[in-house]
């Protein structure tokens, strides 16, 4: 199951109400508005907890999202590009988060760097349609995935620390 801290984080993200996909025009706007609000809140929470771990922005329609996420291991910060599309069937279908930089480096990943989420994620998401949004997907999907996979990958030497990215971030 999802660990204690994740649950705590999750509960502090406001839930969404509008059930609408990108094709639903006005309702999608409402949805997008709620997505943003949830994300803002999530980021604020993270900042307050000194646990900021990603940057995210979308295109004008709010259907393509991209940004960065990072993980600190042994006092070193490892940073990865993040991108994903809002599927047409959203929010019934969860967005498929992808880390293209890690494509082919780990088994827990689909082609194109889409991460394999835990077994728990999908049923949890399905149960919470339409209340979960992008912020939830981030907290529930990518966060734990990074926490599990990155130290393992570093251990195996698949990924190495890159000074530059850190400096760029700083």
């Amino acid at each position: 199951m999802v660990d204690e801290s994740t649950r705590k984080t999750l509960s502090s993200i406001p839930l969404l109400q509008t059930k609408a996909g990108p094709r639903d025009k006005e309702l999608w706007l409402n949805r997008l508005k709620e997505e943003y609000q949830a994300l803002i809140k999530y980021v604020q929470n993270n900042k307050e907890a000194d646990n900021d771990w990603f940057r995210l922005e979308s295109d004008k329609t709010g259907t393509y999202w991209f940004g960065k996420c990072w993980y600190v291991h042994n006092l070193l910060k490892y940073e990865f590009d993040l991108e994903f599309d809002i599927p047409v069937t959203y929010p019934t279908t969860a967005p498929e988060l992808a880390l293209p930089g890690l494509d082919g480096k780990t088994a827990k990943m689909y082609r194109g760097g889409k991460i394999c989420l835990t077994d728990h994620f999908k049923p949890l998401w399905a149960r919470n349609v339409p209340r979960f949004g992008i912020a939830h997907a981030m907290a529930l999907g990518l966060g734990p995935w990074l926490a599990v996979e990155i130290p393992d990958l570093i251990e195996k030497g698949v990924i190495t620390y890159q000074e530059k990215s850190e400096e760029a971030d700083k």
């Binding site: 006005e26 943003y36 803002i40 900042k47 995210l56």
Partner: protein, 767 residues
């Protein structure tokens, strides 16, 4: 337009989002950082702190000590270090490290993982006291279990330390781990005293203890202080308590029983719970003269009683039933033992049957009562010949047993002796003196034989065998006689025993009597034999003499007629001679001959039964009887006579005449008294022949006519005619079957008879 405004709003929100993302994160130390910092500080030994087990808290050791003390206090002065570690969330090793600091102060001690404060010990001391007051008794072991503390600690730091301060009781002197209250001791004592008082019979301590719910040790230690009315047989748990009242009543019972009955039964004593009856009795009556038997002890009084009764019994010539005088519990063997000791002095005058002592006189009386029967039986046995047979069999068996050769020798010796005697008889020429001599020898030999037969010293074992073999007096006989006497005395159960006893001696007596009788009989027999020998010899002499005379007479008759006369003579008188020989031989061979005159069959039978030495001559003699030759007969007779040790007397001519005369007179006198016509004629003819020829004639009735024919020449005509006539009449008389005619002839004959008789007389006179 609503949508445009909405898009504006979206843009604005996206900008807000970016702004929120780009705003600097709050620079605050997160938990992670703190831990990292503190770890760094500890590494640098700048601070001295202790982690809690979850690592979320740090504390200093001073704080830890305070916390431990607080915790100890909260737990009432006792706490496990492990519990402490959990409670304080501090590693056990940290606590252990700090505990040394705490126990320095003496007020707290560490006992097997427990921190124990002095006030805790005080508290449990109070608790223990409460419990002690409640229970009366308490043991360290119990407390150890209850408080889960080492016995040592409880013993020294609690019980002994606070005894008298908080704990009011008494330490057991012999067992320092047990504590009592005074009341408890008093109560227990009372309990034990009560139990002991109440007991009337020996009881195992274990029973008392379990009943009073005590411990062995306590019971035993208190028992000594109690002055209990009784004693313990031992100090072990298996010992018995013997109440003195029990011992006393036991002694009283034994005493009184002994006083009353003068004996004590072991069984009875062991029933009273005395394990060593003999020793006990010895202890109880050290001065008594006691006799220890297998099942009981008897006192002197009984013995004295018995002795006096026995004396009385002997003097009064009666019997004594010992059972009536002895205690009924005595076993047969005991009675026997007692009697053995008792009868040692007077065994000569008493006889013991089963448990009844009889004076010899009494038995003697019984025996006397049986004597007539014994006498009678003995005589009967001798008379029936059983005794002799028995003796003979005994001898036979003895002979075969000892040496068969002796038997043969003995027999041979007898034969030899006989032959010698015969030879001497023959050689001696038959004088009287010689004859007597042989007789004495014979007698001597025979008496010797008899003595040998029943000699008592030549076979004691045989005489013993004799007892078992020949039972003249049976037990039943004796029983029948003494039954009545004994039944009157109520002794019928001893009937068989006494009868058996008497039967032995009576049988002995009977055997003696039988022997005497048999001896007497044997003597009589030998006497008889002597006489028989003489008489047989005389008879044979007479017969042979007669035969010679008759032979002489018949020689007068015509030659052709003689044969039939010889035949008749041999058949009649020769048969008599043989009969005499047979009788004598039978007598010699111990064959009984009841009849006086023997038939031919009887004779033959005897001859067959005779012993070899007699059979041969007698058989030869028998053969001559049918030979019709007088010479052969005489020779055979001679052989017989020598064989039998007899002598034929010489024929005296004068005597012969006398004999003939006697014969004639006898014939005449017979004729006188005779009535039968045939016999009359027969006699008359014989008489006439004798008178006329001066010779005797032995003839049968058939031969009468031959004699008459012979007399024709010697008689007067008329006489001859008369005889002839008579003969005819007699012939008719004997042959006729008509009664009338017979009577007629008889009448005629009667007339003739008188004339016949007269004629005989006349002839006699005339002569």
């Amino acid at each position: 337009m609503a949508p445009s405004t909405d898009w504006e709003e979206i843009k604005r929100l996206a900008a807000d989002f970016q702004k929120a993302q780009l705003s600097s994160t709050a620079q605050r130390l997160s938990e992670r950082n703190c831990i990292e910092i503190v770890t760094k500080l500890i590494e640098l030994k700048l601070i001295d702190v202790i982690f809690t087990t979850d690592g979320k808290e740090y504390l200093t050791s001073q704080h830890l000590i305070r916390e431990i003390k607080d915790e100890l206090y909260v737990h009432g002065g006792r706490i496990n270090t492990v519990d402490l570690a959990k409670e304080l969330n501090v590693d056990l090793s940290q606590i252990c490290a700090n505990i040394t600091e705490i126990i320095k102060g003496r007020e707290v001690q560490l006992v097997s993982g427990y921190l124990i404060a002095h006030y805790y010990l005080e508290k449990i001391a109070r608790e223990i006291n409460e419990k002690l007051q409640l229970q009366g008794q308490i043991s360290v072991g119990e407390l150890t279990l209850q408080y889960d503390l080492p016995a040592e600690l409880l013993q020294h730091s609690v019980l002994e330390k606070y005894l008298g301060k908080f704990i009011f009781g008494k330490q057991d002197v012999s067992e320092p781990r047990i504590f009592y209250t005074e009341e408890y001791i008093a109560r227990t004592k009372a309990k034990i005293r009560g139990a002991l008082m109440g007991l009337l019979k020996p009881t195992p301590i274990a029973v008392i203890i379990s009943h009073c719910n005590l411990t062995d040790r306590l019971f035993l230690s208190l028992f000594d202080q109690l002055k209990a009315p009784g004693v313990l047989t031992g100090r072990q748990a298996g010992a018995l308590y013997l109440p003195s009242c029990y011992t006393k009543s036991q002694n009283d019972w034994v005493m009184s029983f002994y006083k009353q009955n003068n004996y004590l039964e072991y069984d009875a004593l062991s029933r009273l719970g005395i394990s060593d009856p003999k020793g006990y009795v010895k202890r109880l009556f050290p001065n008594e003269d006691l006799t220890f038997l297998s099942t009981c002890v008897i006192g002197a009084q009984i013995k004295v009683q018995l002795e006096t009764a026995l004396e009385e019994c002997i003097s009064s010539r009666s019997y004594l039933d010992v059972i009536s005088l002895l205690p009924s519990v005595l076993s047969d063997q005991d009675i026997e033992n007692v009697l053995d000791a008792l009868l040692k002095n007077s065994s000569r005058s008493t006889i013991l049957f089963d448990n009844t002592v009889f004076s010899n006189h009494y038995i003697e009386n019984l025996k006397q009562a049986c004597m007539p029967m014994t006498q009678k039986n003995a005589e009967a046995v001798v008379k029936s010949g059983k005794y002799q047979q028995f003796c003979f069999e005994k001898q036979m068996s003895k002979a075969t047993e000892l040496a068969p050769a002796v038997h043969v020798d003995h027999k041979a010796e007898r034969r030899e002796e006989r032959r010698r005697k015969a030879a001497s008889g023959k050689g001696g020429g038959g004088t009287q003196g010689r004859e007597t001599k042989t007789k004495t020898v014979k007698k001597h030999a025979r008496s010797k034989q008899a003595a040998h037969d029943s000699d008592s010293d030549d076979g004691h074992n045989v005489s013993k065998k004799l007892q078992t073999q020949l039972e003249i007096v049976s037990v039943e006989d004796v029983e029948n006689i003494i039954k009545e006497i004994l039944e009157n005395e109520g002794l019928e159960d001893l009937l068989n025993r006494i009868a058996e006893y008497l039967q032995g001696s009576l049988n002995q007596t009977a055997l003696t009597i039988a022997k005497e009788t048999a001896d007497k009989l044997l003597q009589d027999a030998s006497q008889n034999r002597k006489q028989t020998h003489v008489s047989a010899q005389d008879k044979i002499n007479i017969l042979v003499n007669d035969m010679k005379l008759y032979e002489k007479g018949l020689k007068l008759l015509p030659q052709d007629q003689q044969a039939s006369f010889i035949k008749y003579l041999l058949k009649s008188l020769g048969g008599d001679v043989l009969g005499e020989f047979c009788k004598y031989a039978a007598n010699q061979c111990n064959l009984s001959v009841q009849v006086d005159t023997l038939t031919v069959e009887q004779r033959n039978k005897i001859i067959n039964d005779l012993t070899d030495e007699f059979t041969k001559p007698v058989l030869a003699l028998n053969a001559t009887l049918s030979e019709q030759n007088m010479e052969l007969f005489y020779q055979a007779v001679d052989v017989c006579l020598t064989e039998f040790g007899m002598i034929l007397k010489k024929i005296d001519k004068k005597k012969d005449k006398l004999l003939i005369l006697n014969h004639r007179e006898k014939l005449i006198s017979e004729l006188e008294s005779c009535d039968d016509p045939a016999l009359c004629l027969h006699l008359a003819v014989l008489a006439i022949f004798t008178i006329l020829s001066q010779n005797m004639l032995h003839a049968s009735g058939r031969q009468v006519n031959i004699i008459i024919a012979f007399l024709k020449s010697l008689l007067k005509e008329e006489d001859y005619a008369k005889l002839q006539y008579c003969h005819e009449l007699v012939g008719k008389y004997l042959t006729t079957s008509d009664d009338e005619e017979k009577a007629e002839i008889e009448d005629k004959l009667k007339d003739e008879l008188s004339t016949l008789k007269n004629m005989v007389n006349e002839i006699k006179k005339y002569k």
